[in-house]
Every structure is written in C-alpha cells, then in structure tokens.
C-alpha cells in the first residue's frame, strides 16, 4: 500500500495564530487610566495608559502570586500597582517598589508587550519583541484619513480567527446569510479574480448592470437623492497578514465607468476588519465601515455603523454555529471549493508564518 504523505495542513479546522505579528488589542478609546483586561493570543493582558497618555500592555498576572494587575490601579508616571500586596511595576514591566522589603528583587518583572497606536487602535506584538517593527502594522489608513468617515464596533466571535478570515475572503455567503441587506444572487453567479502577492491576497469581483440591494440603494440615495436604476457593484477584498481585511465595496450608476476607474457616479465604502485571536476558539473581531461621501453626516455614520452591526450579527451567529459543528464532528474534514481560493491563500500565508516560528507542528 502506498501512503501519500500530506505536506499541507491548509485546511486545518482550528489554525494556531502567528505570534510574530501585530494584532489589535483594543480601540484607542477603550484603553484608559483605569486598567482593563483582555485575553489576546491565549494570554491575559492588562492594558492601561500612563500619565502622559501612552498605551501600555503588561501580562495580566503579578510576578509574586499572579494576581491580575488589571484589577490594580495606575499610579504616578507610567506605573501600575498590583491589587494584592502592592508591588508597583513600570511600563516596562519592572518592579519599582516592593512594599514589604527595602530592596527590589532583580527578577521581579512581568512581561511587557510592545504596543503601537495607529488607525484608532492599540496594536500589540505578542511574539519575539526583537522583531516588533512598527512598519509591519497592517495598512488601515482609511480609519484616520480626512477623505473617509465612519465608525465601528467589536464583535466577540466564538470561533477560531481563521473562520472569520474565511468568512470575509469569500463573500458569496452574502447571498444566503445576508439576504435582506446586501445579498443578491449575482454574487455567486459573477466571476472573481484572486491574486496573491507576498503577505497580501486580493479577491476582486464585479457585478455589472444589476439592481442595487437595499443597503446600497440607501447609500446611493444619500449621495444622489432620488436615485433609481441599475448599478455596477464591486467588492475588492484586501487581506494583509496576519488578519486584517479591508474590503473596498461600492456601487455606481451602471455604465458610468466605475470598472475602468471612474467612481464619481457612485458611493464607495471600506469595510475595515481586523481579527485578534483571543483563544483557539474565540476571537476579537474589530470592524469599522468607512465611506467617502457625506463626510460630515454623523447621522449617516451612525446609520451605517448600526446597519453593518446588524449584518455582522448574522455572520457571528453562523460562525458560532460553524465552530460548534466543527467541534461536534471531529472526524470530518473540510472540503475546499473554487470559491475558497482567497481563504486558502490566507491559510498558506499563515502557515508559512507559523513555520517560520517553528509552530506549524502545533496545528492539529
């Protein structure tokens, strides 16, 4: 009998997450002088701001007896005090005061994680700190650009982070999961192109001369009051490792040249998504919807945020059910279809990152 060795684990159902990468730890406004706790990549992290406003991330367990530092309070300058026996640490995770003795134990430290504040998020590096290059923060510039307006929320998704990435890399599910808002049958009927370049993957889909689904009709009418008629619709999914997906979406009056680059007769949005593994089976899913029209309208910002929140609630439900079914059927494998090509490239890229960290074997 010939045994064919499988060299790829591309369809692992529960993929481990690379550690040498930036993940979003939280929205900038979530991190305050009052410490908060968040589990990131399986590790509890205490997040707070220093007196001068800098974000800090420390392991959320005191060196002494592992009491959570997030239950403690921030002190002068960049320090935080353990709530249990009062050891004080600075932002580097070093003990600056041990109340019960006159000296400081040289090994009294808690891990301090590199953080970068960018694009309205606090990013954290959970892996080898010597590799934490701020230039590697994924591009989400629309979040802070003058040309874009919008807002977002966080979903606590009860599934492996890769399932969220799969969901966003293949939008044919919109027809079925989001039938009342953005779904339409042309989605699964139209052709798409997948391109992988380095740590990036792009999936592009154009639908020509179609009816705008309810969500997009409303947006068109915000910009072009009273609009009626057919549209050309696009979805350009941009993945950047490890887990950021910004989706260039929009519709324009049919035949006005949008596919060729003239989007002036349309409305354009960017669905900004970045997924942070919480555990192997849960994720913090940070998203925002940014638009490039009616920039001053807070009403539209709120309407879009609430609307997309409703749409993503449908994904959340599906993802939770999918993870539960995966766990309930340990003997069943995934099957991969042509529509999965974007998600499959993402898995390849993540696998290469895991291999470089010597952690590919950890996937099962």
């Amino acid at each position: 009998m010939t045994v064919v060795a499988t060299t790829s684990s591309t369809t692992n159902k529960v993929l481990p997450h690379p550690l040498n990468a930036w993940y979003v730890a939280g929205w900038d406004h979530e991190v305050t002088r009052k410490p908060m706790s968040r589990r990131i990549a399986n590790r509890p992290v205490a997040l707070y701001r220093t007196e001068d406003g800098r974000a800090v991330a420390l392991a959320d367990a005191c060196w002494h007896r592992l009491a959570p530092l997030s239950m403690g309070k921030t002190m002068e300058k960049d320090t935080i005090q353990c709530p249990y026996h009062g050891i004080i640490y600075n932002s580097a995770g070093r003990c600056v005061s041990m109340p019960a003795q006159e000296t400081i134990n040289p090994s009294a430290t808690v891990p301090s994680f590199p953080v970068v504040e960018r694009y309205r998020y606090v990013w954290i590096w959970m892996g080898d700190p010597t590799l934490a290059d701020p230039d590697l923060v994924p591009d989400m510039h629309q979040m802070t650009s003058d040309e874009w307006a919008g807002d977002g929320l966080t979903i606590h998704a009860a599934c492996n982070f890769q399932l969220v990435l799969d969901n966003l890399m293949d939008l044919t599910h919109e027809e079925f999961v989001h039938s009342s808002t953005i779904g339409q049958e042309e989605l699964s009927e139209s052709d798409f192109v997948t391109v992988r370049e380095g740590n990036k993957v792009t999936v592009t889909r154009w639908m020509h001369n179609i009816d705008a689904p309810p969500f997009w009709l409303k947006n068109m009418r915000d910009k072009f009051p009273g609009f009626e008629g057919k549209v050309d619709r696009w979805q350009i999914i941009n993945f950047e490792a490890p887990s950021t997906i910004s989706i260039d979406v929009g519709v324009a009056k049919a035949g006005t040249g949008a596919p060729e680059g003239d989007r002036s007769q349309g409305v354009n949005g960017f669905v900004m998504n970045t997924i942070t593994p919480e555990t192997d089976r849960s994720s913090h899913y940070f998203w925002a919807f940014m638009r490039n029209y009616c920039l001053d309208s807070q009403l539209i910002t709120t309407q879009l945020r609430d609307g997309v929140h409703g749409v993503f609630g449908e994904d959340e439900e599906m993802l939770m059910a999918q993870q539960a079914a995966i766990d309930a059927n340990p003997d069943y494998e995934f099957y991969n279809l042509n529509i999965d090509s974007g998600g499959m490239w993402v898995r390849r890229i993540l696998e290469a990152m895991l291999a470089a960290e010597g952690r590919l074997a950890a996937s099962a």
């Binding site: 367990a61 134990n105 090994s107 010597t130 010597g358």
Partner: protein
C-alpha cells in the same frame, strides 16, 4: 511571572567541549526538546558531584534560531564543590539532564541607550544580549572587564562583532574599570545590564543610587556564589535545634544545616528571595553578605543573614589583613 519559567526537564547531548580561555570551557548542547533561547536566559542542568546529582545554572551564550543548539561556557570555579569540574569533564556524545532556557534576566527592547557590563565569566549572560542589540541597531556599549586577557572568554569574537562598541578593561594591564566614570555615562534613558562579581555589581549599584538614577533601569543577574571575601570554614550553632555544624569552604551554610538534619526554609538559593533568612544572636567574626535581598542598611545591622549564600569570616572588619585565627563562629535562630 514564574509561569514562563516552569522547568521542562529533558535530555541533551554534548556535541563539543573546547577551551575558550584559561579555565573556561565552551560546551555545545543539543537539547531533545529545543526552544529558542532569549537573551539573558540560562539553563538549569544536573551535574554529578561524588556520585550525587546537583543542580547548576549556566547562561546561554549563544543559540541558533530554533534553539536546537545551545552554547554555554563554564568556568572552573576555585574552591568548587565540583559542579564546574564535572562540566569540564564532559565529552562529546555524553548525555545530560537539562531544562529548557529559563528567563530571569530579560532584555527589554526599545531603551534609548544601553550599557552592558560583564565581569569575568559574567560575559556568558551578556554576550547574547549584545548580539541582539547589535542586530536591532540599538545604541549600546559593551564593557567587558577581567583580571587578565587570558582569562576572558570570547574576546576576539566580541571584538570582531562589536568593534568600537566593545570596551575592554584588564586588571593586570592596568586598565581597570572606573565605576564612577562608567555610571557617569548613564542618563535617565539608559538601561544598564550587568553580570559579574558581587563586588563589581555592588559598586555599580551604589554609584547608581548616588547619582539618583532610576533603580529599575539597573538590571543584573547574580550567579549566586561570589562574595567580598574568599570563603572560609566556619562554625554555626543553632541552640534551638541543639546543633553545632561546621560549614566547610566548599559548602553553603544552608546545605551544611540541611546535611545536619535541620529542616530549613528556602526558595531561590541564590540570595534573592530572603526566604532562607536566619537571625544572628551571637557572632565572633564578620558576616560576608552575599545576597541582594538586604539593603546596605540591613546588611550593616548584621542581625540577620540569608544562609543560602552568605557566610561568616574571621576578619572583624571584613578586611582580609584583619583576618583572625579561625574559624568564625556564629549562633543563629532559624525561621
């Protein structure tokens, strides 16, 4: 946080043992469960002394990317109990029980400036830090001090790698280090990492405090066995337990008491935690405090000592010329 330091014991194969300086052997180990070694980390391993197993720690001088090869360097300790002598007797192919790399001396990335200070064999804990800082293009100076060039491991390699960033001070060439000058170069944005004899580290710490620099920016690791004086044999009396024990040169007071059947409290066994503290009720001689748990004030008080590392010596002033006729005698109450 102790959790990252849970010891995973495993076997390792000795690949190579070569001398790298007078009395210092470079030992290459192939662990069976490789794990990347962070700068500042060490492995614990089991040595054999007179047929008995004992634990010793050795800093990881270098390792390859995935930790499949770990290099340590061991100095043959004068007046040794025998751990380092065992290490020098290793031959390629031999197996050892070791832990994965353990971390008590982490290097923080992102400081504005670094001074790395290695005294003698302390270079083992510092060399990897210097290599990482070089790779990160950080602003660092590596200061390496020793008694004589011949006794300083890796001088040539370090000089090749670090060029002008390496500063060497050699006692027998008359170029000894001036601690005030060294600390004088540190400012509020400088982190100083050091490993070396306790005298050197005490001097740096004192100057650091005098100059009102932030203590958390002074990082050090003790190898847990150097003192201000050479170890002497001394006698310890424990009235409460009805014990009189002789502590030989090559054995700690804690071990000697344990050997005599006293149930002692301890944890780190290297002078950091203060759990092995005993109260001194009578003393003929002086205490050679070798711990980093007490402040100078507490050490001067001389009412307590950490018996895992500290010893009694005959000199009442601590100066060697005042050494009396031995042995020192100390009476204690254990915890």
């Amino acid at each position: 946080m102790a959790a990252t330091n849970i010891e995973t014991w495993q076997s390792a194969t000795v690949e190579q043992v070569v001398p790298v300086a007078d009395g210092i052997a470079r030992i290459v180990l192939i662990p069976s469960l490789p794990l990347k070694a962070e700068p500042g980390s060490h492995v614990d391993l089991m040595v054999e002394i007179n047929g008995e197993q004992a634990k010793r720690s050795y800093s990881v001088v270098e390792s390859n990317h995935d930790g499949t090869r770990l290099v340590i360097s061991v100095m043959k300790a004068p007046l040794s109990r025998g751990g380092s002598i065992f290490m020098h007797s290793l031959v390629p192919g031999q197996r050892l029980e070791i832990t994965q790399p353990l971390q008590n001396f982490p290097l923080r990335v992102g400081a504005r400036r670094y001074i790395l200070l290695a005294g003698g064999i302390g270079i083992t804990a510092i060399a990897n830090m210097a290599a990482v800082l070089k790779r990160l293009k950080a602003d660092y100076t590596l200061v390496y001090v020793g008694r004589s060039r011949g006794a300083m491991a890796y001088l040539a390699e370090l000089s090749d790698l670090h060029g002008e960033r390496l500063e060497v001070h050699v006692d027998d060439e008359g170029s000894s280090l001036s601690v005030p000058a060294l600390v004088g170069r540190a400012d509020a944005d400088t982190e100083l990492y050091m490993c070396g004899p306790i005298r050197l580290m005490d001097a740096v710490r004192r100057t650091w405090v005098e100059r009102e620099l932030d203590l958390p920016n002074l990082r050090y690791e003790t190898f847990g066995n150097s003192g201000w004086y050479d170890p002497e044999e001394f006698i310890v009396r424990v009235p409460k337990l009805n014990l009189e024990v002789t502590v030989p040169q090559g054995r700690s007071m804690l071990e000697a008491l344990e050997d005599a059947g006293a149930e002692m409290m301890f944890d780190c066994r290297k002078g950091e935690c203060g759990l092995c503290e005993v109260r001194i009720t009578e003393l003929s001689g002086a205490i050679d405090h070798r711990d980093v748990f007490y402040s100078e004030r507490q050490q001067r008080q001389g009412t307590k000592m950490n018996c895992c590392v500290s010893r009694a010596v005959t000199s009442p002033t601590g100066s060697r010329t005042d050494a009396g006729a031995g042995p020192a005698v100390i009476t204690i109450e254990p915890n």
